[in-house]
Protein backbone atom coordinates (compact mmCIF):
# COMPACT_ATOMS: atom_id res chain seq x y z
CA UNK A 1 0.00 0.00 0.00
CA UNK A 2 2.70 2.50 1.04
CA UNK A 3 6.34 1.87 0.48
CA UNK A 4 9.10 4.41 0.68
CA UNK A 5 12.77 4.07 -0.16
CA UNK A 6 15.61 6.39 0.74
CA UNK A 7 13.27 9.27 1.53
CA UNK A 8 14.86 12.44 2.82
CA UNK A 9 14.08 16.11 2.96
CA UNK A 10 16.21 19.20 3.55
CA UNK A 11 14.67 22.52 4.57
CA UNK A 12 16.61 25.53 3.39
CA UNK A 13 19.48 26.24 5.79
CA UNK A 14 18.74 23.20 7.95
CA UNK A 15 20.00 19.67 8.36
CA UNK A 16 18.77 16.91 6.16
CA UNK A 17 16.01 14.77 7.64
CA UNK A 18 16.40 11.21 6.47
CA UNK A 19 13.47 8.89 6.92
CA UNK A 20 13.73 5.16 7.31
CA UNK A 21 12.01 3.07 4.69
CA UNK A 22 8.37 2.37 5.39
CA UNK A 23 6.15 -0.42 4.25
CA UNK A 24 2.51 -0.36 5.25
CA UNK A 25 -0.06 -2.90 4.10
CA UNK A 26 -3.63 -2.20 2.98
CA UNK A 27 -6.16 -1.50 5.76
CA UNK A 28 -3.51 -1.35 8.45
CA UNK A 29 -3.66 1.32 11.15
CA UNK A 30 -0.36 2.89 12.06
CA UNK A 31 0.73 5.43 14.60
CA UNK A 32 3.65 7.66 13.69
CA UNK A 33 5.22 8.83 16.94
CA UNK A 34 7.82 11.48 17.53
CA UNK A 35 8.57 14.67 19.33
CA UNK A 36 7.85 18.08 17.81
CA UNK A 37 10.42 18.82 15.16
CA UNK A 38 11.22 15.17 14.53
CA UNK A 39 9.81 15.40 11.00
CA UNK A 40 6.43 13.71 11.51
CA UNK A 41 4.54 16.40 9.63
CA UNK A 42 7.17 16.51 6.91
CA UNK A 43 6.91 12.76 6.40
CA UNK A 44 3.13 12.85 6.44
CA UNK A 45 3.08 15.70 3.90
CA UNK A 46 5.57 13.85 1.71
CA UNK A 47 3.42 10.72 1.84
CA UNK A 48 0.31 12.81 1.16
CA UNK A 49 1.84 14.58 -1.79
CA UNK A 50 1.41 17.93 -0.08
CA UNK A 51 5.17 18.45 -0.15
CA UNK A 52 7.26 17.72 -3.21
CA UNK A 53 9.90 15.12 -2.32
CA UNK A 54 13.56 15.88 -2.96
CA UNK A 55 15.08 12.42 -2.78
CA UNK A 56 13.79 8.89 -2.57
CA UNK A 57 10.68 7.18 -3.82
CA UNK A 58 7.15 6.93 -2.49
CA UNK A 59 4.78 4.35 -3.86
CA UNK A 60 1.14 4.62 -2.89
CA UNK A 61 -1.42 2.14 -4.18
CA UNK A 62 1.02 1.06 -6.86
CA UNK A 63 1.63 4.62 -8.08
CA UNK A 64 5.00 6.29 -7.77
CA UNK A 65 3.73 9.67 -6.60
CA UNK A 66 7.08 11.42 -6.81
CA UNK A 67 6.82 11.04 -10.58
CA UNK A 68 3.35 12.55 -10.92
CA UNK A 69 2.92 15.99 -12.44
CA UNK A 70 1.51 18.68 -10.20
CA UNK A 71 -2.01 18.41 -11.59
CA UNK A 72 -1.72 14.63 -11.69
CA UNK A 73 -0.81 14.72 -8.01
CA UNK A 74 -3.79 17.00 -7.28
CA UNK A 75 -6.09 14.48 -8.91
CA UNK A 76 -4.42 11.56 -7.14
CA UNK A 77 -4.80 13.30 -3.77
CA UNK A 78 -8.45 13.94 -4.35
CA UNK A 79 -9.19 10.36 -5.26
CA UNK A 80 -6.98 8.35 -2.91
CA UNK A 81 -6.41 10.40 0.22
CA UNK A 82 -8.35 11.72 3.13
CA UNK A 83 -6.67 14.23 5.41
CA UNK A 84 -7.33 15.16 9.02
CA UNK A 85 -5.32 17.91 10.67
CA UNK A 86 -4.83 19.21 14.18
CA UNK A 87 -7.46 21.87 13.57
CA UNK A 88 -10.57 20.93 11.69
CA UNK A 89 -9.98 23.60 8.99
CA UNK A 90 -13.57 23.50 7.86
CA UNK A 91 -14.71 26.21 5.46
CA UNK A 92 -16.64 28.49 7.77
CA UNK A 93 -18.64 30.09 4.96
CA UNK A 94 -20.28 26.73 4.21
CA UNK A 95 -22.69 24.54 6.16
CA UNK A 96 -21.61 21.10 7.40
CA UNK A 97 -23.26 19.43 4.46
CA UNK A 98 -21.62 21.70 1.87
CA UNK A 99 -18.25 21.28 3.58
CA UNK A 100 -18.61 17.55 3.06
CA UNK A 101 -19.78 17.95 -0.53
CA UNK A 102 -16.62 19.93 -1.28
CA UNK A 103 -14.66 16.66 -1.03
CA UNK A 104 -16.25 14.91 -4.03
CA UNK A 105 -16.55 18.21 -5.91
CA UNK A 106 -12.86 19.04 -5.66
CA UNK A 107 -11.86 15.44 -6.34
CA UNK A 108 -14.02 15.46 -9.46
CA UNK A 109 -16.26 12.67 -8.15
CA UNK A 110 -20.08 12.57 -8.28
CA UNK A 111 -21.67 14.39 -5.32
CA UNK A 112 -23.86 11.93 -3.48
CA UNK A 113 -26.04 13.41 -0.74
CA UNK A 114 -26.95 9.92 0.54
CA UNK A 115 -23.29 9.25 1.12
CA UNK A 116 -23.04 12.50 3.09
CA UNK A 117 -25.92 11.43 5.30
CA UNK A 118 -24.45 7.97 5.72
CA UNK A 119 -21.12 9.36 6.92
CA UNK A 120 -22.80 11.94 9.19
CA UNK A 121 -24.81 9.07 10.68
CA UNK A 122 -21.68 7.03 11.30
CA UNK A 123 -20.13 9.95 13.15
CA UNK A 124 -23.30 10.85 15.07
CA UNK A 125 -23.68 14.20 13.32
CA UNK A 126 -26.93 13.68 11.49
CA UNK A 127 -28.73 16.60 13.10
CA UNK A 128 -25.80 18.89 12.26
CA UNK A 129 -26.32 18.55 8.52
CA UNK A 130 -27.40 22.17 8.02
CA UNK A 131 -25.44 23.65 10.92
CA UNK A 132 -23.00 26.50 10.40
CA UNK A 133 -19.41 25.71 11.31
CA UNK A 134 -19.37 28.39 14.04
CA UNK A 135 -22.17 26.52 15.85
CA UNK A 136 -20.04 23.38 16.30
CA UNK A 137 -17.96 22.54 19.32
CA UNK A 138 -14.30 21.71 18.76
CA UNK A 139 -14.97 18.00 19.10
CA UNK A 140 -17.89 18.16 16.68
CA UNK A 141 -15.83 20.15 14.21
CA UNK A 142 -13.09 17.54 14.32
CA UNK A 143 -15.68 14.82 13.71
CA UNK A 144 -16.94 16.73 10.67
CA UNK A 145 -13.34 16.92 9.47
CA UNK A 146 -13.12 13.13 9.80
CA UNK A 147 -16.39 12.77 7.94
CA UNK A 148 -14.94 14.94 5.16
CA UNK A 149 -11.78 12.81 5.08
CA UNK A 150 -13.64 9.50 4.71
CA UNK A 151 -16.43 10.73 2.44
CA UNK A 152 -14.78 9.80 -0.85
CA UNK A 153 -13.91 6.34 0.56
CA UNK A 154 -10.19 7.04 0.24
CA UNK A 155 -7.75 4.15 0.35
CA UNK A 156 -5.49 6.12 2.65
CA UNK A 157 -6.30 8.44 5.55
CA UNK A 158 -3.48 10.63 6.83
CA UNK A 159 -4.02 12.38 10.15
CA UNK A 160 -1.62 14.97 11.55
CA UNK A 161 -2.05 15.50 15.32
CA UNK A 162 -5.83 14.97 15.02
CA UNK A 163 -6.36 14.86 18.79
CA UNK A 164 -3.78 17.15 20.34
CA UNK A 165 -6.17 20.10 20.54
CA UNK A 166 -8.87 18.02 22.26
CA UNK A 167 -9.60 17.15 25.87
CA UNK A 168 -9.39 13.53 27.02
CA UNK A 169 -13.03 12.69 26.40
CA UNK A 170 -13.03 14.14 22.88
CA UNK A 171 -9.59 12.70 22.19
CA UNK A 172 -10.90 9.23 22.94
CA UNK A 173 -14.02 9.75 20.91
CA UNK A 174 -12.24 11.21 17.86
CA UNK A 175 -9.59 8.52 17.91
CA UNK A 176 -12.16 5.76 18.13
CA UNK A 177 -14.17 7.33 15.33
CA UNK A 178 -11.07 7.65 13.17
CA UNK A 179 -10.28 3.98 13.67
CA UNK A 180 -13.89 2.99 13.19
CA UNK A 181 -14.40 5.07 10.09
CA UNK A 182 -11.19 3.80 8.53
CA UNK A 183 -12.12 0.22 9.26
CA UNK A 184 -15.65 0.76 8.02
CA UNK A 185 -14.40 2.22 4.75
CA UNK A 186 -11.51 -0.21 4.42
CA UNK A 187 -8.98 2.59 4.45
CA UNK A 188 -5.39 2.48 5.56
CA UNK A 189 -4.85 4.89 8.46
CA UNK A 190 -1.66 6.66 9.38
CA UNK A 191 -1.75 8.99 12.37
CA UNK A 192 1.22 11.23 13.14
CA UNK A 193 1.22 12.46 16.73
CA UNK A 194 3.14 13.17 19.88
CA UNK A 195 -0.05 12.57 21.82
CA UNK A 196 0.77 9.71 24.21
CA UNK A 197 -2.94 9.09 24.85
CA UNK A 198 -3.23 7.36 21.47
CA UNK A 199 -0.44 4.87 22.06
CA UNK A 200 -2.66 2.21 23.56
CA UNK A 201 -5.05 2.24 20.62
CA UNK A 202 -2.66 1.27 17.82
CA UNK A 203 -0.95 -2.07 17.31
CA UNK A 204 1.43 -0.75 14.68
CA UNK A 205 3.69 2.03 15.77
CA UNK A 206 6.51 3.77 14.06
CA UNK A 207 8.91 5.88 16.11
CA UNK A 208 10.76 8.67 14.39
Amino acid sequence: MITTQGLSYTYRGQNKIAFRDISIQRSEHWLLLGESGSGKTTLLHLLGGLLKSQAGSIEVNGTEITKLSESGLDRFRGQHYGFVFQKSHLISALTVRNNLLMAPFLAGLPQDVHRVMEVLDQLGLREKEHAQIQELSQGQAQRVAIARAVLNKPTLILADEPTSALDDRNCDRVCDLLLEASAHNGATLLVATHDQRLKSKFKNQLQL
Partner: protein
Protein backbone atom coordinates in the same frame (compact mmCIF):
# COMPACT_ATOMS: atom_id res chain seq x y z
CA UNK B 1 -21.28 22.14 -4.61
CA UNK B 2 -19.66 24.04 -7.40
CA UNK B 3 -17.41 27.07 -7.69
CA UNK B 4 -20.28 29.50 -8.12
CA UNK B 5 -22.04 28.33 -4.97
CA UNK B 6 -18.72 28.30 -3.10
CA UNK B 7 -18.05 31.89 -4.16
CA UNK B 8 -21.61 32.87 -3.39
CA UNK B 9 -21.34 31.41 0.10
CA UNK B 10 -18.08 33.24 0.69
CA UNK B 11 -19.73 36.52 -0.33
CA UNK B 12 -22.77 35.82 1.81
CA UNK B 13 -20.62 35.04 4.81
CA UNK B 14 -19.52 38.71 4.80
CA UNK B 15 -22.70 40.60 4.04
CA UNK B 16 -21.38 44.00 5.12
CA UNK B 17 -18.22 43.79 3.07
CA UNK B 18 -20.02 42.37 0.08
CA UNK B 19 -22.82 44.90 0.39
CA UNK B 20 -20.42 47.82 0.58
CA UNK B 21 -18.51 46.68 -2.49
CA UNK B 22 -21.66 46.15 -4.50
CA UNK B 23 -23.07 49.48 -3.33
CA UNK B 24 -19.93 51.44 -4.20
CA UNK B 25 -19.75 50.06 -7.70
CA UNK B 26 -23.51 50.36 -8.15
CA UNK B 27 -23.37 54.04 -7.24
CA UNK B 28 -20.75 54.78 -9.87
CA UNK B 29 -22.51 52.74 -12.51
CA UNK B 30 -25.86 54.34 -11.64
CA UNK B 31 -24.50 57.85 -12.21
CA UNK B 32 -23.03 56.77 -15.54
CA UNK B 33 -26.31 55.10 -16.50
CA UNK B 34 -28.45 58.14 -15.69
CA UNK B 35 -26.11 60.36 -17.68
CA UNK B 36 -26.16 57.93 -20.56
CA UNK B 37 -29.93 57.57 -20.64
CA UNK B 38 -30.54 61.28 -20.24
CA UNK B 39 -27.94 62.44 -22.71
CA UNK B 40 -28.82 59.92 -25.39
CA UNK B 41 -32.52 60.63 -25.20
CA UNK B 42 -31.99 64.36 -25.18
CA UNK B 43 -29.77 64.19 -28.25
CA UNK B 44 -32.21 61.89 -30.00
CA UNK B 45 -35.07 64.27 -29.23
CA UNK B 46 -33.11 67.28 -30.33
CA UNK B 47 -32.08 65.77 -33.61
CA UNK B 48 -35.56 64.43 -34.33
CA UNK B 49 -37.14 67.79 -33.50
CA UNK B 50 -34.67 69.75 -35.57
CA UNK B 51 -34.87 67.33 -38.48
CA UNK B 52 -35.73 69.00 -41.76
CA UNK B 53 -35.17 72.51 -40.43
CA UNK B 54 -32.00 74.08 -41.71
CA UNK B 55 -32.46 77.62 -40.50
CA UNK B 56 -34.74 79.63 -38.27
CA UNK B 57 -35.29 83.27 -39.16
CA UNK B 58 -36.77 85.55 -36.53
CA UNK B 59 -36.38 88.86 -34.78
CA UNK B 60 -32.93 89.89 -33.60
CA UNK B 61 -31.94 88.59 -30.19
CA UNK B 62 -30.23 85.50 -28.87
CA UNK B 63 -29.85 82.89 -31.63
CA UNK B 64 -30.04 80.13 -29.02
CA UNK B 65 -33.31 81.58 -27.78
CA UNK B 66 -34.61 81.63 -31.33
CA UNK B 67 -33.89 77.92 -31.67
CA UNK B 68 -35.19 76.97 -28.21
CA UNK B 69 -38.37 78.92 -28.85
CA UNK B 70 -39.17 78.00 -32.42
CA UNK B 71 -37.98 74.41 -32.62
CA UNK B 72 -38.17 73.03 -29.08
CA UNK B 73 -40.85 75.41 -27.81
CA UNK B 74 -39.21 75.81 -24.42
CA UNK B 75 -38.34 79.49 -24.53
CA UNK B 76 -40.10 82.77 -25.30
CA UNK B 77 -40.13 84.42 -28.72
CA UNK B 78 -37.42 86.99 -29.48
CA UNK B 79 -40.06 89.31 -30.90
CA UNK B 80 -42.07 89.53 -34.08
CA UNK B 81 -41.15 90.10 -37.69
CA UNK B 82 -43.20 91.95 -40.28
CA UNK B 83 -44.89 89.77 -42.84
CA UNK B 84 -43.43 91.93 -45.63
CA UNK B 85 -39.92 91.22 -44.37
CA UNK B 86 -40.60 87.52 -44.12
CA UNK B 87 -41.75 87.55 -47.73
CA UNK B 88 -38.38 88.92 -48.80
CA UNK B 89 -36.67 85.92 -47.24
CA UNK B 90 -39.10 83.43 -48.75
CA UNK B 91 -38.43 84.88 -52.21
CA UNK B 92 -34.70 84.11 -51.92
CA UNK B 93 -33.65 81.51 -54.45
CA UNK B 94 -31.88 79.35 -51.86
CA UNK B 95 -35.09 78.79 -49.88
CA UNK B 96 -36.82 75.56 -50.74
CA UNK B 97 -39.51 75.71 -48.11
CA UNK B 98 -40.47 78.29 -45.50
CA UNK B 99 -42.97 77.59 -42.74
CA UNK B 100 -44.36 80.58 -40.82
CA UNK B 101 -44.69 80.35 -37.06
CA UNK B 102 -46.89 82.62 -34.97
CA UNK B 103 -46.27 82.03 -31.28
CA UNK B 104 -47.07 83.71 -28.01
CA UNK B 105 -50.27 82.22 -26.69
CA UNK B 106 -50.92 79.07 -24.78
CA UNK B 107 -53.62 77.00 -23.16
CA UNK B 108 -52.92 75.57 -19.69
CA UNK B 109 -49.20 75.71 -20.33
CA UNK B 110 -49.34 74.18 -23.80
CA UNK B 111 -48.21 76.46 -26.60
CA UNK B 112 -50.52 77.41 -29.41
CA UNK B 113 -48.69 77.47 -32.71
CA UNK B 114 -50.09 79.41 -35.65
CA UNK B 115 -48.63 77.84 -38.73
CA UNK B 116 -49.47 76.05 -41.97
CA UNK B 117 -50.17 72.35 -42.55
CA UNK B 118 -46.61 72.06 -43.79
CA UNK B 119 -45.45 72.25 -40.17
CA UNK B 120 -47.37 69.08 -39.36
CA UNK B 121 -46.06 67.48 -42.53
CA UNK B 122 -42.49 68.30 -41.47
CA UNK B 123 -42.87 65.91 -38.52
CA UNK B 124 -45.08 63.51 -40.49
CA UNK B 125 -47.95 64.19 -38.08
CA UNK B 126 -50.79 61.68 -38.21
CA UNK B 127 -54.27 62.10 -36.84
CA UNK B 128 -55.51 59.87 -34.06
CA UNK B 129 -59.01 61.25 -34.48
CA UNK B 130 -60.88 64.16 -36.12
CA UNK B 131 -59.17 66.25 -38.76
CA UNK B 132 -56.49 68.85 -39.26
CA UNK B 133 -57.33 72.52 -38.68
CA UNK B 134 -58.86 74.13 -41.74
CA UNK B 135 -60.65 77.34 -40.80
CA UNK B 136 -59.70 80.15 -38.49
CA UNK B 137 -59.81 79.29 -34.78
CA UNK B 138 -59.84 75.55 -35.44
CA UNK B 139 -57.08 73.64 -33.64
CA UNK B 140 -55.53 70.20 -33.73
CA UNK B 141 -54.09 68.98 -30.41
CA UNK B 142 -50.85 67.13 -29.79
CA UNK B 143 -51.35 63.74 -28.12
CA UNK B 144 -50.05 64.80 -24.69
CA UNK B 145 -52.03 68.04 -24.76
CA UNK B 146 -55.24 66.08 -25.27
CA UNK B 147 -54.22 63.60 -22.59
CA UNK B 148 -53.37 66.17 -19.93
CA UNK B 149 -55.98 68.88 -20.57
CA UNK B 150 -58.87 66.52 -21.19
CA UNK B 151 -59.90 68.48 -24.29
CA UNK B 152 -61.69 66.40 -26.88
CA UNK B 153 -62.99 67.00 -30.38
CA UNK B 154 -65.67 69.64 -30.21
CA UNK B 155 -64.26 71.26 -27.04
CA UNK B 156 -63.75 74.99 -27.03
CA UNK B 157 -61.25 76.98 -24.99
CA UNK B 158 -59.86 80.47 -24.60
CA UNK B 159 -56.13 80.95 -25.06
CA UNK B 160 -53.97 82.82 -22.57
CA UNK B 161 -51.22 85.26 -23.33
CA UNK B 162 -47.72 83.91 -22.76
CA UNK B 163 -46.84 80.40 -21.65
CA UNK B 164 -48.38 80.44 -18.19
CA UNK B 165 -51.93 79.59 -17.21
CA UNK B 166 -52.53 82.95 -15.54
CA UNK B 167 -51.77 85.18 -18.53
CA UNK B 168 -54.35 87.54 -19.95
CA UNK B 169 -57.17 85.42 -21.36
CA UNK B 170 -58.33 86.05 -24.91
CA UNK B 171 -61.88 85.01 -24.15
CA UNK B 172 -63.61 86.95 -26.96
CA UNK B 173 -62.47 84.39 -29.52
CA UNK B 174 -62.67 80.75 -28.48
CA UNK B 175 -60.67 78.03 -30.15
CA UNK B 176 -62.46 74.94 -31.35
CA UNK B 177 -60.85 71.46 -31.31
CA UNK B 178 -61.26 69.57 -34.59
CA UNK B 179 -58.60 66.90 -34.34
CA UNK B 180 -56.10 65.09 -32.11
CA UNK B 181 -52.73 63.85 -33.30
CA UNK B 182 -51.20 60.45 -32.72
CA UNK B 183 -48.33 60.36 -30.23
CA UNK B 184 -45.17 61.08 -32.19
CA UNK B 185 -42.54 61.34 -29.44
CA UNK B 186 -41.46 64.73 -30.63
CA UNK B 187 -42.32 68.31 -29.93
CA UNK B 188 -45.73 68.07 -31.65
CA UNK B 189 -47.06 66.04 -28.72
CA UNK B 190 -47.02 69.17 -26.57
CA UNK B 191 -48.36 71.69 -29.10
CA UNK B 192 -51.74 73.04 -30.14
CA UNK B 193 -51.66 73.67 -33.87
CA UNK B 194 -53.77 76.17 -35.71
CA UNK B 195 -53.68 78.64 -38.63
CA UNK B 196 -51.57 81.78 -38.45
CA UNK B 197 -54.81 83.65 -39.13
CA UNK B 198 -56.31 82.26 -35.89
CA UNK B 199 -53.60 83.99 -33.89
CA UNK B 200 -54.21 87.25 -35.72
CA UNK B 201 -57.93 86.96 -35.16
CA UNK B 202 -57.46 86.41 -31.44
CA UNK B 203 -55.24 89.48 -31.32
CA UNK B 204 -57.77 91.58 -33.27
CA UNK B 205 -55.61 91.79 -36.38
CA UNK B 206 -58.36 90.27 -38.51
CA UNK B 207 -61.97 91.32 -38.34
CA UNK B 208 -64.94 89.96 -40.14
CA UNK B 209 -64.96 87.30 -42.82
CA UNK B 210 -61.83 86.29 -44.71
CA UNK B 211 -61.44 87.98 -48.08
CA UNK B 212 -59.48 86.39 -50.88
CA UNK B 213 -56.48 88.61 -51.67
CA UNK B 214 -55.60 89.76 -55.17
CA UNK B 215 -51.89 89.07 -54.73
CA UNK B 216 -51.64 86.46 -52.00
CA UNK B 217 -48.63 86.70 -49.69
CA UNK B 218 -45.99 84.02 -50.19
CA UNK B 219 -45.98 83.41 -46.45
CA UNK B 220 -49.64 83.39 -45.49
CA UNK B 221 -51.86 83.09 -48.53
CA UNK B 222 -54.96 84.71 -47.08
CA UNK B 223 -53.43 88.18 -46.90
CA UNK B 224 -52.21 90.60 -49.52
CA UNK B 225 -48.55 90.59 -50.37
CA UNK B 226 -46.59 93.32 -48.63
CA UNK B 227 -48.91 93.54 -45.64
CA UNK B 228 -47.47 96.05 -43.19
CA UNK B 229 -49.56 95.39 -40.11
CA UNK B 230 -49.53 91.69 -39.54
CA UNK B 231 -46.55 89.94 -38.00
CA UNK B 232 -45.30 86.44 -37.41
CA UNK B 233 -42.69 85.13 -34.94
CA UNK B 234 -40.38 83.29 -37.28
CA UNK B 235 -39.84 81.29 -40.41
CA UNK B 236 -38.56 77.70 -40.41
CA UNK B 237 -36.50 77.31 -43.54
CA UNK B 238 -35.34 74.36 -45.60
CA UNK B 239 -32.40 74.99 -47.93
CA UNK B 240 -32.66 74.36 -51.60
CA UNK B 241 -29.03 73.23 -51.87
CA UNK B 242 -25.91 72.94 -49.70
CA UNK B 243 -24.62 76.25 -50.95
CA UNK B 244 -27.32 77.96 -48.92
CA UNK B 245 -25.49 77.08 -45.70
CA UNK B 246 -23.05 79.86 -46.53
CA UNK B 247 -25.22 82.31 -48.41
CA UNK B 248 -28.58 82.40 -46.69
CA UNK B 249 -27.58 83.17 -43.07
CA UNK B 250 -25.34 85.95 -44.36
CA UNK B 251 -28.15 87.33 -46.51
CA UNK B 252 -30.56 87.33 -43.59
CA UNK B 253 -28.18 88.76 -41.04
CA UNK B 254 -26.77 91.55 -43.20
CA UNK B 255 -29.73 92.68 -45.27
CA UNK B 256 -32.52 92.97 -42.80
CA UNK B 257 -33.49 93.57 -39.22
CA UNK B 258 -33.88 89.82 -38.89
CA UNK B 259 -31.50 87.19 -37.64
CA UNK B 260 -30.91 83.64 -38.77
CA UNK B 261 -29.96 80.80 -36.44
CA UNK B 262 -28.90 77.29 -37.39
CA UNK B 263 -30.44 74.56 -35.20
CA UNK B 264 -27.45 72.28 -35.70
CA UNK B 265 -24.98 74.95 -34.67
CA UNK B 266 -26.98 76.26 -31.73
CA UNK B 267 -27.76 72.85 -30.27
CA UNK B 268 -24.12 71.88 -30.59
CA UNK B 269 -23.29 75.05 -28.70
CA UNK B 270 -25.88 74.25 -26.06
CA UNK B 271 -24.44 70.78 -25.61
CA UNK B 272 -20.94 72.10 -25.26
CA UNK B 273 -22.18 74.35 -22.44
CA UNK B 274 -24.08 71.50 -20.75
CA UNK B 275 -21.18 69.19 -21.52
CA UNK B 276 -19.04 70.71 -18.78
CA UNK B 277 -21.55 69.63 -16.13
CA UNK B 278 -21.92 66.24 -17.72
CA UNK B 279 -18.15 65.79 -17.79
CA UNK B 280 -17.85 66.68 -14.12
CA UNK B 281 -20.55 64.14 -13.21
CA UNK B 282 -18.97 61.52 -15.41
CA UNK B 283 -15.58 62.14 -13.82
CA UNK B 284 -17.17 61.75 -10.42
CA UNK B 285 -18.69 58.43 -11.51
CA UNK B 286 -15.37 57.19 -12.84
CA UNK B 287 -13.70 58.05 -9.51
CA UNK B 288 -16.45 56.13 -7.71
CA UNK B 289 -15.93 53.13 -9.95
CA UNK B 290 -12.17 53.21 -9.46
CA UNK B 291 -12.62 53.39 -5.69
CA UNK B 292 -15.02 50.47 -5.81
CA UNK B 293 -12.47 48.53 -7.85
CA UNK B 294 -9.86 49.25 -5.21
CA UNK B 295 -12.30 48.24 -2.50
CA UNK B 296 -13.02 44.93 -4.24
CA UNK B 297 -9.29 44.34 -4.55
CA UNK B 298 -8.67 45.05 -0.86
CA UNK B 299 -11.60 42.89 0.21
CA UNK B 300 -10.39 39.93 -1.84
CA UNK B 301 -6.80 40.42 -0.76
CA UNK B 302 -7.77 40.47 2.91
CA UNK B 303 -10.17 37.58 2.74
CA UNK B 304 -7.49 35.57 1.01
CA UNK B 305 -5.28 35.92 4.07
CA UNK B 306 -8.10 34.65 6.23
CA UNK B 307 -8.75 31.85 3.80
CA UNK B 308 -5.26 30.50 3.39
CA UNK B 309 -6.28 27.39 5.35
CA UNK B 310 -9.39 26.99 3.22
CA UNK B 311 -7.25 27.20 0.11
CA UNK B 312 -4.69 24.71 1.43
CA UNK B 313 -7.42 22.30 2.53
CA UNK B 314 -9.08 22.56 -0.85
CA UNK B 315 -5.76 21.72 -2.50
CA UNK B 316 -5.41 18.72 -0.16
CA UNK B 317 -8.84 17.56 -1.30
CA UNK B 318 -7.73 17.56 -4.90
CA UNK B 319 -8.30 21.14 -6.10
CA UNK B 320 -5.72 22.25 -8.61
CA UNK B 321 -3.94 25.59 -8.49
CA UNK B 322 -6.08 26.59 -11.46
CA UNK B 323 -9.30 25.89 -9.56
CA UNK B 324 -8.25 28.26 -6.76
CA UNK B 325 -7.19 30.87 -9.30
CA UNK B 326 -10.51 30.68 -11.10
CA UNK B 327 -12.57 30.71 -7.92
CA UNK B 328 -10.87 33.93 -6.80
CA UNK B 329 -11.35 35.56 -10.20
CA UNK B 330 -14.94 34.41 -10.11
CA UNK B 331 -15.46 36.09 -6.77
CA UNK B 332 -14.25 39.41 -8.17
CA UNK B 333 -16.43 38.99 -11.25
CA UNK B 334 -19.54 38.06 -9.27
CA UNK B 335 -19.03 41.15 -7.10
CA UNK B 336 -18.54 43.47 -10.04
CA UNK B 337 -21.38 41.94 -12.06
CA UNK B 338 -23.75 42.29 -9.12
CA UNK B 339 -22.55 45.85 -8.57
CA UNK B 340 -22.93 46.78 -12.21
CA UNK B 341 -26.38 45.25 -12.63
CA UNK B 342 -27.53 46.87 -9.40
CA UNK B 343 -26.12 50.14 -10.73
CA UNK B 344 -27.94 49.80 -14.04
CA UNK B 345 -31.16 49.04 -12.18
CA UNK B 346 -30.66 52.02 -9.86
CA UNK B 347 -29.88 54.24 -12.85
CA UNK B 348 -33.13 53.31 -14.57
CA UNK B 349 -35.00 53.55 -11.27
CA UNK B 350 -33.69 57.02 -10.51
CA UNK B 351 -34.62 58.23 -13.97
CA UNK B 352 -38.07 56.68 -13.60
CA UNK B 353 -38.64 58.51 -10.32
CA UNK B 354 -37.27 61.67 -11.92
CA UNK B 355 -39.77 61.44 -14.79
CA UNK B 356 -42.57 60.95 -12.26
CA UNK B 357 -41.58 63.98 -10.21
CA UNK B 358 -40.48 66.37 -12.93
CA UNK B 359 -43.33 66.87 -15.41
CA UNK B 360 -41.05 68.75 -17.81
CA UNK B 361 -39.00 65.61 -18.39
CA UNK B 362 -42.10 63.84 -19.67
CA UNK B 363 -42.76 66.75 -21.99
CA UNK B 364 -39.21 66.39 -23.23
CA UNK B 365 -39.99 62.74 -23.86
CA UNK B 366 -37.40 61.35 -21.42
CA UNK B 367 -38.26 57.85 -20.23
CA UNK B 368 -36.56 55.24 -18.06
CA UNK B 369 -37.87 52.39 -20.17
CA UNK B 370 -35.21 52.43 -22.85
CA UNK B 371 -32.08 50.34 -23.05
CA UNK B 372 -29.00 51.22 -25.01
CA UNK B 373 -26.37 48.76 -26.18
CA UNK B 374 -23.86 50.88 -24.27
CA UNK B 375 -25.35 49.45 -21.09
CA UNK B 376 -24.20 46.01 -22.25
CA UNK B 377 -20.72 47.43 -22.63
CA UNK B 378 -20.93 48.91 -19.14
CA UNK B 379 -21.73 45.44 -17.83
CA UNK B 380 -18.89 43.87 -19.82
CA UNK B 381 -16.52 46.59 -18.66
CA UNK B 382 -17.48 45.92 -15.05
CA UNK B 383 -16.78 42.23 -15.43
CA UNK B 384 -13.41 43.28 -16.81
CA UNK B 385 -12.91 45.47 -13.75
CA UNK B 386 -13.75 42.47 -11.56
CA UNK B 387 -11.13 40.38 -13.33
CA UNK B 388 -8.58 43.16 -13.00
CA UNK B 389 -9.20 43.64 -9.28
CA UNK B 390 -9.09 39.94 -8.47
CA UNK B 391 -6.09 39.13 -10.62
CA UNK B 392 -3.46 39.74 -7.96
CA UNK B 393 -5.38 37.92 -5.20
CA UNK B 394 -6.02 35.10 -7.67
CA UNK B 395 -2.32 34.80 -8.41
CA UNK B 396 -1.73 34.70 -4.68
CA UNK B 397 -4.31 31.94 -4.32
CA UNK B 398 -2.61 30.11 -7.18
CA UNK B 399 0.69 30.26 -5.31
CA UNK B 400 -0.63 28.94 -1.99
CA UNK B 401 2.04 26.69 -0.47
CA UNK B 402 -0.04 23.87 1.00
CA UNK B 403 2.74 22.39 3.05
CA UNK B 404 3.74 25.66 4.71
CA UNK B 405 0.17 26.60 5.53
CA UNK B 406 -0.86 23.20 6.86
CA UNK B 407 2.35 22.62 8.79
CA UNK B 408 1.60 25.92 10.48
CA UNK B 409 4.94 27.55 9.74
Amino acid sequence: MNLISLVWNYLRAKPLNTGLNIFLLALGIAVITVLLLFNNQLQEKISSNAKGIDLVVGAKGSPLQLILCNIFHIDFPTGNIKLAEAERIVRHKMVKKAIPMALGDSYSGYRIVGTTTEYGALYKAELASGEFWKNDLEVTLGALVAEHTGLTIGSTFASAHGLTTDGHAHDENLYHVTGILKKSNNVLDNLILTKVESIWRVHDLIHGPTVTPVHPSSVVESVEMGDSIREITSLLIQYRNPLAVIQLPRFVNSNSSLQAASPAFETARLFSILGVGVDVLRGFAVVLILISGLSIFIALYNSLRERQYDLAIMRSMGASRRTLFISTLLEGCVLSTLGASTGLAIGHGVLWIFTLIVQESQKAGVTAAVFYSTEGFILLGSIGLGVLCSLLPAIQAYRTDIHKVLAGS
